[in-house]
Amino acid sequence: MSDMSLAAPLAPRKAGTRRLQVLVFLAALVLGLVLLTLSCGRGCLAPGDVVAALTGTPGANASFVVSELRLPRAVMGLLAGFSFGLGGVAFQIMLRNPLASPDIIGISASAGAAAVFVIVILAFDGWLVSLVAVLAGLGVAAMIWALSSRRGAAGARLILIGIGVSAMLDSVTAYVLLEAPAWDRAEAMRWLTGSLNGVQLVQALPVAGALLVFGGLLACTARDLEVLRLGDDTAEALGVRSDVTRLRVTLAAVGLVAIATSATGPIAFVAFLSGPIAARLLPGSRGLLLGAGLVGAVLVIAGDYAGQFLLPARLPVGVITGAIGAPFLLYLIVRANRNGGTL
């Protein structure tokens, strides 16, 4: 992500203040969107009613709507969005290419295909689904790495091979969904694009766990990852073992994206969009991981809200993010072309 490192002409102290401002603003935006999701749907509730419903006050009149319908949506949107953003930007930084995000190179597709397979054919649920999704994601990552056989920066070859792998895995998902008697076509379409419809609070547990474990791992590796951007040789000279770092980042990022995907389906382009958006907001590259996670949460919660209430028809969140993300990808291509860059 060459453009991310070039965006810091500010003095260090000023940049620090600016970074803090941006991160606080993003966190406040996430909080605001969560509150909006909790209190306003078809009709708006008074803040008192929302609090009463959440604290389980007996006789609260909106307790079903708030704690059974809206709370799971908000929590899952927050956790999944954060995971997508974090996992996506980790890949983009590690491979030094904004196009090398897990949803473009087939990691999300593999987790989705594996999750659908074990849910529909083998009737697994809960943690087991997450585990299989992560293993499938790691397997496909290893396969793409091996097929493109380049070290370090991601060339066009890796991205093209990832697109091919995606297409193949999507056809597997479509096949499995067709085999399943219980899934009707509309339901299947939702699963293929990613949606928060009908999520339950229980399903958010593995996502929260993954965020804790893999997010923690990523946070511990953040400094080494930053150094890795200077190139493998420089990193080694600075005492950072590039292969270990790469392995840890891959494990963490795949874990985050795969578990979130197994819970919500592959919400289109959130992993791809979050990093570049955060990079444009933040001065310099510090805090990029956190920023991208927050942007991811904003995208998913806002997209879900827009899909539910702001448009004439109710649409799954993946349709909204897909419709926003694709033009952004086109913009990125055009811009790279204008600069004469090779993407």
């Binding site: 066009a156 991205i159 056809s171 649409l315 897909g322 033009p327 072309n337």
Partner: protein, 333 residues
Amino acid sequence: MQVQRPQRLAGFALLLGLLALMTGLSLTVGARSVPWAEIWAGITGQIETIGAAAVAVRMPRTALAILAGAALGLAGAVMQGISRNPLADPGILGVNAGAALFVVVGIAWFDISGAHSYLWLGIAGAGVTAVFVYLIGSAGQGGATPLKLTLAGTATSVAVSAFIIAVVLPRNDIAGSVQSWQVGGVGGASFETLLPAVPFALVGLLLSLASARVLNALALGEELATGLGQSVALGRLMAAAGAVILCGTATALCGPIGFVGLVVPHLCRMIAGVDYKLVLPLSALAGASMLGLSDVLGRIVARPNELDVGIVTAFVGAPFFIWTVRNHRMRGL
């Protein structure tokens, strides 16, 4: 690579044999196994038994697979020639998705129905999308490299798919009639919808086949092609028009089907060398066989259900796409 005359003839013979084999399989194999006597009865039009009726339904279906497959294979070969890009394919470049979008919007918002309207919509959608993707993919320095074109096509496909879902999901009343435009299937074929498409397909076929000389010259490089006295711009335009008509027609009939146009031209080049005068007709033949065989495969693997042919071609074609990326020296890679 100079290919000897006997080998060319062998190539044609091989592909014709494959086409005959596919036609036979497509008529006889299906979700329901039918005894030979009833198969014959079905083919000759006596549909007294359920088995014979099933076979009678398989006839337009096979005809559609042949027409659409030939169109997609030929269109893929032309696109690879125009853009000098070994990864070009009507599905990968988003052209089929664009055609499907126009048809779906036509059905959902403007209450359009009828085979002819679908065809015009499909061709218009294919044309608009092809121009759009090519402009995005070739903007700036370096021209239309395989990576840029593929990414532009992928992004366009995703956007278009999201839009199609957004149009279709709220409309339960039309969900059934637009089903095949989401994944691509030949199951709902009938001769009544197939016949109006034949003239369109023929026009596309002739335009594409006539552009073989231009494509051959382009393969040598644009400057050299101009130097050889070819009107490159005009020739490209004609070839592109042919490919767009073919894609639009195929998509209007059976939805967006990818990877046929990618796989087939490469296989034909292995058989017949690089001369487009041979590659183009062979691609049409091989495309028909590939789509038909994929359809047969889709009926077998998902018994008692059927798998839409678009799913099968993606599963078979994607590894080929990866193989092509790994084994071809491309600009920008």
